[in-house]
Symmetry: C2
Subunit: 252 residues, 2 copies
């Protein structure tokens, strides 16, 4: 299908996680092909493209894998929801956090019928003259997550939306067993895609001044300023190095 | 500055690594701000944004870090060039591989004066009720490399280009020491940005049918087809699981 033109820059800055879909609208093969063509244009180390995408729709293995992922996601969300007080909040009036909690509950409750579920995988690598790079190391992520981000952005460009999570992890070794994934290959994430059920809403992030340094760690870049009207994320569990970071920033 | 409108989908599929820059054209602060605003809109686990970008231009630490990175890049390229036969090829007529070798040599020879060098970093994380997630694990990459890809795509949208590499690694612990990076923070990559010196050229990748499976590992997705006129990458060192993968594909 053809798609509306979205300006590339505007599209990048306004793409957010979409977790509620129109469940009665399957994604046509042609659009899937376009999304994955875009995903596979991403850069990777040595252009070796050690990523593979497993697309789960309504095939026999897909049904088993989705059922398993549904259990894993609901378990993970139940735990996170109670750990971080989301479930209690969801009963009250609709703050951004509460809206997020409701969307998340709908997300985990409907994984079995989400239009498309994707498992991006990464393979280990042995470059000539180099040691084996196992698929479990941070740096291997540079050869799979750019492709995941391309997939999410291309989905947006074609009128779809999606979310990337790590909530397949509680499924453990059963998920690779269901899908025949070799032992040395790692599932890098789970991406769910479909037509958005609601509006896109604003992307909420930390102030850019906390994220961009110039010349050394902790020294705020004087030119890094959020445009007027930017909406910010609420507090999140602080990364471990945050205190250290704040201490360094004091001198900047 | 204003920018030409590029269609989001077309921009994503045609963004390639740029390694030759106009060295006399610094990137204005306003454009840097726009690029990093886009980078920091990327998704991350729990929206916790554990990534930090250190921008190196002409500050005192930046000069030291660039000198160090120059040595590391040239050492890495020299090793890779001889391991994979690039240097010999570069002496002959201009095949794609030879053009790449020349661009790579220019890239490593000019790191000290490349318009902008960026070190994306990732912090460890402890979510409530979860174990510590060290910054060295694959899954942490889902919270930094999407932001790196946004940076590269936003650069393209604004008329710039860049390349992401892991060639800072030979610099070892000296690089964090120069830049005051805390011990538990990991440098996730090095990204170089600037105005492209040459044309963009085609993105060359593996055939999409090798990269996208449906329903299970190794089963080619029947709808995954490269558009007419797609140009493919030459052979690369095979990922370790490739044989296994091919064996599984035989049944598909």
């Amino acid at each position: 299908m053809s798609h509306e033109t979205i300006d590339m820059y505007d599209g990048i800055i306004s793409t957010r996680a979409i977790r509620r879909y129109r469940y009665d609208e399957p994604v046509p093969d042609e659009d899937l092909n376009k999304m994955f063509f875009a995903a596979t244009r991403a850069p990777s180390g040595n252009n070796s493209q050690p990523f593979r995408f497993i697309v789960l729709r309504d095939g026999p293995r897909a049904k088993e894998a989705r059922a398993l992922l549904g259990v894993a996601f609901r378990t993970r969300w139940g735990k996170k929801g109670s750990d971080e007080g989301y479930s209690a909040a969801a009963a009250a009036s609709l703050s951004p956090k509460e809206r997020m909690a409701l969307a998340m509950q709908e997300f985990v409750d409907n994984l079995e019928r989400a239009p498309v579920v994707v498992l991006p995988c990464v393979m280990p690598q042995r470059n000539p003259g180099s040691a084996l790079l196992p698929a479990t190391e941070l740096a291997r992520g540079a050869s799979v997550y750019p492709a995941c981000q391309n997939l999410l952005l291309a989905a947006r460009a074609l009128g779809y939306g999606g979310a990337m999570t790590m909530w397949h992890k509680p499924a453990g070794a059963l998920l690779p067993a269901v899908l025949g994934i070799p032992e040395d290959v790692t599932i890098a994430s789970t991406i769910v895609l479909g037509r958005p059920a609601g509006r896109h809403g604003p992307v909420r992030r930390l102030p850019i001044g906390e994220l961009v340094f110039e010349d050394e760690w902790g020294q705020a870049a004087p030119w890094a300023k959020d445009p007027a009207g930017t909406r910010f994320a609420g507090p999140r569990p602080a990364p471990v190095a945050a205190t250290q970071n704040a201490a360094v920033q004091d001198k900047g």
